[in-house]
Symmetry: C2
């Protein structure tokens, strides 16, 4: 009989719709000011229904994080299939990431939310946390893959362990983009008031710097 399956799909659809609503509210109100009541209203369900699908507000936010990181991974995956050198791939991954967070700033906030949660109470474990973590691991694996390709095709020095280098590049990219984001908010926020660096130029130079360090000079 198809009924359990149909019901399951129905449930999934409703869940996705709630996440849509959450994204709307978050984008409009900001992460801190969004309320469960608002999200419920936007999703056209009662608050109680929200809690049938998500155990807590944090879980809703993590669902947004999961969706965002899945979307990001889909774009990163595309880069890996391109027929270019490993070094060029690293550059392309950086640009793809940058473009993604510029296009979807609320996902970037969701990523930060996830990390904040993990930092605060490691006592968090759930299906969603696991999936967010796995997505982050996957993103990093694309970088590692590009590094391996680059070491193979001789475009990248093989002095480093790709896994460790991948972690470094991933972390550093997030840090730089985070900082650059701060600078966009308000005229003179962020630590770089005096110099008017553009987010793009900053990332551009970072990629260049990494390339310089990775370049097989010979």
């Amino acid at each position: 009989m198809e009924k359990p399956s149909r019901k399951e799909r129905e449930r999934k659809r409703r869940r996705e719709y709630i996440i849509d609503a959450a994204e709307d509210v978050i984008s409009k109100e900001g992460f801190d000011n969004a309320t469960m009541d608002e999200i419920a209203q936007k999703a056209e369900v009662a608050k109680g229904t929200l809690y049938l699908h998500f155990k807590s507000k944090a879980m809703v936010y993590l669902a947004v994080c999961e969706r965002g990181s899945s979307k990001l991974n889909a774009e990163l995956a595309k880069v890996i299939t391109e027929n270019i050198t490993g070094l060029k791939m690293i550059e392309r991954l950086g640009h793809t990431y940058l473009k993604f967070v510029l296009a979807h700033p609320h996902y970037f906030q969701a990523f930060n939310y996830y990390e904040g949660l993990m930092n605060d109470q490691s006592t968090y474990s759930s299906e969603l946390v696991t999936r967010c973590r796995e997505n982050a691991q996957e993103a990093m694996r694309y970088i590692v893959r590009a590094l391996q390709i680059g070491m193979q095709d001789q475009s990248i020095v093989d002095r480093y362990k790709p896994e460790e280098l991948g972690a470094i590049i991933w972390g550093a990219s997030k840090g730089i983009i985070n900082m650059a984001f701060l600078n966009q908010k308000g005229v003179d926020h962020g630590p770089m008031k005096e110099a008017e660096f553009e987010l793009e130029s900053l990332i551009e130079n970072f990629i260049q710097l990494i390339s310089a360090a990775l370049l097989k000079s010979k």
Copy 2:
């Protein structure tokens, strides 16, 4: 007459004591779970008194951030006075930063809190926000200074603008340390489960990578 000054000092002392209490509570309960009531109790004042010194919970947290960044800057400043090459200074700054956040994880969380605030509502402005921002700028300026020294003493290539490079190194360092922190929480958290990278080794390699990119090879 000394009275207004004495009163002022008295007030300052009380304020510092409240920040002490906030740090205690934050360290024990975590940033999210800390409550104003707890902080008040720890500081041995009524909640109302807390609000005479700080306009909101956010301001208490920003005060912690400001104190932390001031302490960090004091340590970074010491490095700048050492009689070493600019390149070596960059390494030493990185290690100093790492040591600091390991010793005071709650300050690191406070830094992240500040950045989260700035990301969420740019509509925040106050004496404290300004000071936190200035402290962040100061930290970055130490890096820039080291880069300039390095370019002077020929230990660092002068291909890049020191200000921009400084921003990159500062942002990247924060990102890497943040990620490495995640990994410490719980056995298999963070995006680097499979490989057991140590925070230290990660930063070590990052510094090496930067050095490789900066090294004046000739």
